[in-house]
């Protein structure tokens, strides 16, 4: 076999990590708990579900009735030449057919609608849960896999609900009805039929494990396919500029081919399984023919020829559903694997319990205190060590330090995107652990390094945090930021479309939109992480001047690499490897002549380029 699902396989473009593998369901076919949980989703439309059950039962009864009525018509009036009787039977049959087709319509429609409603509710819950998961979750989860939950997994569950449960009930029902008729006709022959049951059971057992294994392999490999496509589309610009089409295409072809192999194996197994089931029925029919024929011919027992004929008709009705049931069983395996993944995601608890929302912000003044705060991303990746700080309301604080010193992490902690591994953060005296994150961030204006916009207009994006703001309020906010002219110069001004589907607007413009978005909510606390790194110098100076006015009365924590922009901060904190090494105003720190003074000198040196530093480039191997 080409490739194995058991090992994480590096495919060059992406690596399937151990985490991805955990996404795969374990072999636990048809757990009742999952069924029960799925069933609970039908509660929302209980009326539909009950109506469906009724139509299903009706259909189950009807399946055997029509052949019986037809047979009776032929055996009765037609055989006897009873013309009015024939007409009566025909009218009855016509009415009954109409009834069955109406039932069929509702059975199908209700099943579809029920499936769709369940899927709708699962998606709703998935999305809700997604919103509840903290940022830390998103930093370790591949987006492609999360999207898979909403697409292929949900689809598999839909198929399960629509086809498997109720169709199986119909089939089981017709089998039971047929069995009832058969028992009435000939009990002994029916016992012969029961003898086939252990064979069916045995076959089922053998194939169940094999099938669920290959199904899992199919889904795993499919997961890899989607994740790769998703990443390739997002990284397509890099691929093109580095000429990697051909190589990526080859890798992808291998992935898809792997996936197809598992599909082939599913079909292989199924096409062994299903015909074997069928073969089993045919063996029974043959046995029935010999035994029943023997008894009719030699007059053993009470079986008559017409009984035997009826029995054969019924045997068909009895055996046909077995194939269908076996098929449903396969679908159920797929559906359950998906359901398990869905519910596992829904059951993943957020990394910390979030207190219930109170609907109002706990921030009054904007005092931020850090009390022996440490933070680690993993066991050996401590980023912040035992920080103790107190930031007064209305104060502007700049965070300065080399890359990796923990500045961004500190901002994330204040916004409660993460919680400290040790120590306490308080805002206006309240421990952040006791404050609902969403409530807290109502008073925040946050601009982070990723400048994400949603698809929509510039206007929509700026008023993301306050959708009720009018256009003139938005313009006013832009004017106060002194960048109204820049927005107006866009192709369609404030109506320019941006986001994933948006025309190309520049990174600098995107940062300005993010900035305006943060200012429009009139925040008490402003967190800016490299908010203006891609904005040109002239605009940045204008923004700086605007900020001088806008920051009055707000607590602000700002990270900026251009030290010219932090000079005027009330307080500068210099971080180095997760510790605050210097703390004071620009003048204090320059006087102290420590790390800040060195960084600042370096910065100014670079600005003025007074000295050409010695170039130290590593030797070419």
């Amino acid at each position: 076999m080409n490739g194995s699902a058991a090992q994480p396989k590096p495919v060059g473009l992406t690596i399937v990590s151990r985490k991805d593998k955990e996404e795969a369901a374990t072999t636990r076919p048809l757990s009742l708990r999952l069924y029960a949980r799925l069933f609970r989703y039908t509660r929302g439309c209980a009326a539909k579900r009950n109506a469906l059950l009724v139509t299903v039962l009706l259909r189950a009864g009807q399946g055997a009735v029509i052949p019986w009525m037809m047979a009776s018509t032929i055996n009765g009036p037609i055989r006897q030449g009873d013309w009015p009787g024939l007409l009566r039977w025909l009218v009855a049959l016509a009415l009954f057919t109409l009834f069955t087709q109406i039932t069929l319509h509702f059975r199908q429609r209700l099943a579809f609608e029920l499936g769709e409603s369940v899927v709708h509710d699962i998606r709703r819950d998935l999305f809700r849960h997604m919103l509840e998961m903290p940022m830390s979750y998103y930093n370790r989860t591949r987006p492609g896999l999360l999207i898979n939950r909403f697409t292929s997994d949900v689809e598999a569950v839909r198929a399960g609900v629509q086809n498997v449960v109720f169709a199986s009930l119909v089939n089981l029902g017709s089998m039971l009805v047929a069995a009832g008729f058969m028992i009435a006709y000939d009990r002994q022959l029916f016992l012969l039929l029961l003898a086939t049951a252990p064979i069916l059971w045995g076959l089922n057992r053998i194939f169940r494990t094999r099938l669920s294994q290959v199904h899992r392999a199919v889904q795993e490999s499919f997961s890899r396919v989607t994740a790769t496509v998703s990443e390739s589309v997002r990284g397509v610009r890099v691929t093109q500029s580095f000429n990697r089409w051909a190589r990526n295409a080859q890798m992808f072809h291998d992935l898809v081919f792997d996936h197809s192999w598992f599909n082939v194996r599913v079909t292989q197994t199924e096409s062994l399984y299903l015909p074997l089931m069928d073969l089993n029925s045919q063996f029974f029919l043959a046995a029935l023919l010999i035994l029943g024929g023997y008894r009719v011919l030699y007059g053993v027992g009470t079986t008559t020829l017409s009984d035997l004929v009826q029995f054969f008709f019924l045997a068909g009705t009895f055996f046909n559903p077995i194939q269908a049931l076996a098929n449903h069983y396969n679908q159920a395996l797929t559906a359950m694997a998906s359901a398990e993944r869905l519910f596992r995601f829904l059951e993943t608890p957020p990394d910390w319990p979030e207190p219930p929302a109170e609907g109002r912000s706990p921030v009054t003044e904007g005092r931020i205190e850090l009390d022996h705060v440490s933070f680690a991303y993993g066991p050996h990746r401590t980023v912040l060590h035992d920080l103790c700080l107190s930031l007064e309301p209305g104060m502007s604080v700049a965070l300065v330090g080399p890359t990796g010193s923990g500045k961004t992490t500190l901002i994330h902690l204040i916004a409660k995107f993460y919680i400290p591994t040790a120590g306490v953060i308080r805002i206006d005296g309240r421990d952040l652990r006791t404050v609902n994150g969403s409530d807290l961030r109502r008073s925040f204006g946050i601009v982070l390094q990723q400048n994400v916009l949603f698809s929509g207009t510039v206007l929509d994006n700026i008023r993301f945090g306050r959708p009720e703001a009018t256009e003139s309020e938005v313009r006013e906010a832009a004017r106060r930021l002194d960048c109204l002219d820049i927005f107006e110069a866009l192709p369609q001004g404030f109506r320019t479309r941006v986001g994933e589907q948006g025309a190309s607007i520049s990174l600098g413009e995107r940062q300005l939109i993010c900035f305006a978005r943060a200012m429009l909510v009139n925040p008490r606390i402003l967190l800016l992480d490299e908010a203006t790194s891609a904005v040109d110098a002239l605009t940045e100076v204008r923004l700086q001047a605007a900020l001088e006015r806008l920051l009055v009365g707000r607590t602000s924590v700002v990270i900026a690499h251009r030290l010219s922009t932090v000079r005027n901060a009330h307080r500068i904190l210099v971080l180095d490897r997760g510790r605050v090494v210097e703390d004071g105003t620009h003048r204090d720190l320059i006087r102290r002549d420590g790390l800040y003074a060195r960084l600042y000198r370096e910065f100014m040196l670079a600005q003025t380029d007074a000295a050409v530093r010695k170039t130290r480039s590593p030797p070419r191997p």
Binding site: T97, L131, N139, R237
Partner: protein
């Protein structure tokens, strides 16, 4: 009894044969569709997606493109599985049935045929109705998935602005739109199928009545006449289900096929010329001749750009937000084609150069660098997968990335998250720089690589650029005068127009945007002593 045993034997043998045929048939079938069709189509769509021009991706959401490679292709397979094969089986069995039925009684057969025109009419009506509905369904689903993927990428924004309730409401509306529209489709489908079956079953009753009448008058034997005929007809009627399912499948798979072929038929806007000029090593001479460019007609982004760069020169580009700096860089590797004027590399129009040759020789560092979820080493070697570990480390050192890479848990073998989200902006940028340097390209295009980097690293990166400049033409977009003044020449853009072009000394000596920017950043003091005013052009 011997006959019975023989019959029983025949049943078993037939069953065995059928099992064997089914098995072989299924196997062949799955090889044809899953391994043939699906693999080929997926690969073709993927390949095409990788080749389509930037402009295509500018206004397409990634979420909708993914489903074309995955579920849409699966649906196209439905066309073979559910339509072609099923239609063939249906036609073959219908012909057989009718042939037997015709042998039994012509009148009855003709009567049973009367229903088919109605089924044809019903099916075409249904197809027309449901076609639009399926298309609408795909669009609505796309929109919902787009909502999910945007939400995942913008999670911090939603959380940061405490707008979870809005996001939920927005998703709920899209989710409900999909469901409600699906209900409409279900109504079509579940009226169509059962009503077609009803028509057929009523015809069967007509046949039964007529057949009964025939038997009464002795024109048709009961046993091998009517009963067999009815048996055959019953089986044929069951096949009507197959037919309605086929009709439904046709519409579903055609909707998907349209979406798949839409991609496959799309011509990349930027294509390799029919008789490309091959250049294995460019010298690096770049000439813009009255170049203009627009994304949407009527909204020019660049106008009349005109300058020439000699091999080995370092060019700085300065300009306000939205001035067209990034666009200008992306014209050189033909991410977009110029819409007016010409762009020459080594005196050859870029549109005549072999596209592979061209891009292989250009190293590009984007403003925002996308990294793949692979090891650090594999990311650096993205453009040269055969590079050795020494080469990779060399490039990383040059890009000032070696130290932080070594500080990561598994060094060069650390697996990054998709998009590189677990790195800081500066770290991402340095990996991207290493990735570009490893190509040792004759032309290096750097789009504001130091924007999110601390001053110390920035200094180091600028040194790297300078030390790597030998033998290559470098374009650097930056806002920082101290970086620009190290460049050989500087291009100043303003709202898509080239407003200044010259050396630092030349530009600082004249009034204009460059001097204004310099004054802001360096302060007046630095403009003195006046740099030999005579050099100004």
């Amino acid at each position: 009894m011997a006959v019975l045993t023989l019959l029983a034997g025949v049943i078993v043998l037939l069953a065995l044969a059928r099992a064997l045929v089914t098995y072989l048939n299924n196997l062949n079938h799955v090889r044809l569709t899953q391994q043939g069709l699906v693999v080929d189509l997926r690969s073709a769509v993927y390949d095409k997606l990788q080749r389509l021009s930037f402009r295509f991706f500018d206004d397409k959401a990634s979420g909708t493109l993914i489903t074309r490679v995955t579920s849409d292709v699966q649906n196209v397979r439905l066309f073979v599985d559910g339509v072609v094969v099923q239609t063939f089986i249906f036609a073959a069995s219908a012909v057989t049935y009718f042939w037997y039925m015709f042998r039994i009684h012509r009148g009855l057969t003709l009567l049973s045929l009367t229903v088919w025109p109605f089924i044809a009419l019903g099916s075409s009506l249904f197809s027309r109705k449901v076609k639009k509905a399926y298309q609408k369904n795909r669009d609505l689903t796309d929109e919902m998935i787009l909502g999910v993927s945007e939400q995942i990428q913008g999670m911090y924004v939603t959380k940061g602005f405490a707008r979870e309730a809005d996001a939920e409401a927005r998703f709920a509306a899209r989710n409900a739109a999909v469901r409600n529209q699906k209900f409409l489709i279900f109504r079509f489908v579940t009226v169509y199928g059962p009503s077609m079956e009803l028509l057929t079953r009523l015809t069967v009753l007509g046949v039964l009545g007529y057949g009964g009448w025939l038997t009464f008058h002795g024109r048709l034997p009961l046993g091998e006449g009517l009963i067999v005929f009815m048996g055959l007809l019953q089986r044929l009627t069951d096949q009507v289900n197959v037919l309605t399912t086929i009709t439904d499948s046709v519409q579903q798979s055609l909707t998907s096929a349209r979406r798949v072929f839409e991609i496959l038929d799309m011509e990349p806007e930027v294509r390799n010329p029919p008789h490309p000029v091959r250049r294995h090593r460019l010298e690096g001479r770049v000439r813009f001749e009255h170049v203009s460019f627009h994304y949407t007609p009527g909204v020019p982004v660049l106008e009349d750009i005109h300058f020439e760069v000699q091999p080995g020169e370092c060019i700085g580009i300065l300009g306000g937000t939205g001035a067209g700096k990034s666009t200008l860089l992306s014209l050189i590797p033909r991410f977009y084609d110029v819409t007016g004027g010409c762009l020459f590399l080594d005196d050859v129009d870029v549109r005549r150069l072999d596209l592979n040759d061209l891009r292989r020789q250009i190293g590009f560092v984007f403003q925002e660098s996308f990294l793949f979820s692979n090891t650090v080493a594999a990311n650096i070697a993205f453009g040269r997968p055969e590079a050795t570990r020494e080469d990779i480390e060399w490039a990383a050192r040059l890009a000032c990335a070696h130290d932080f890479i070594m500080a990561m848990p598994e060094g060069y073998d650390t697996v990054l998250h998709e998009g590189g989200v677990n790195l800081s902006g500066g770290q991402r940028q340095r990996l991207a720089l290493a990735r570009a340097i490893l190509l040792e390209p004759p032309i290096l295009l750097l789009d504001d690589p130091t924007a999110a980097v601390d001053p110390e690293t920035e200094g180091e990166i600028l040194e790297t650029i300078e030390s790597a400049r030998a033998g290559r033409t470098t374009f650097l977009v930056t806002h920082r005068i101290h970086a620009l003044r190290r460049m050989d020449r500087i291009l100043v853009l303003h709202r898509g127009r080239q407003v200044q072009w010259g050396t630092h000394e030349e530009l600082i000596a004249v009034k204009g945007p460059y001097r204004r920017a310099a004054r802001i950043q360096l302060g007046d003091a630095l403009l003195f002593p006046p740099l030999a005013g005579g050099t100004a052009a």
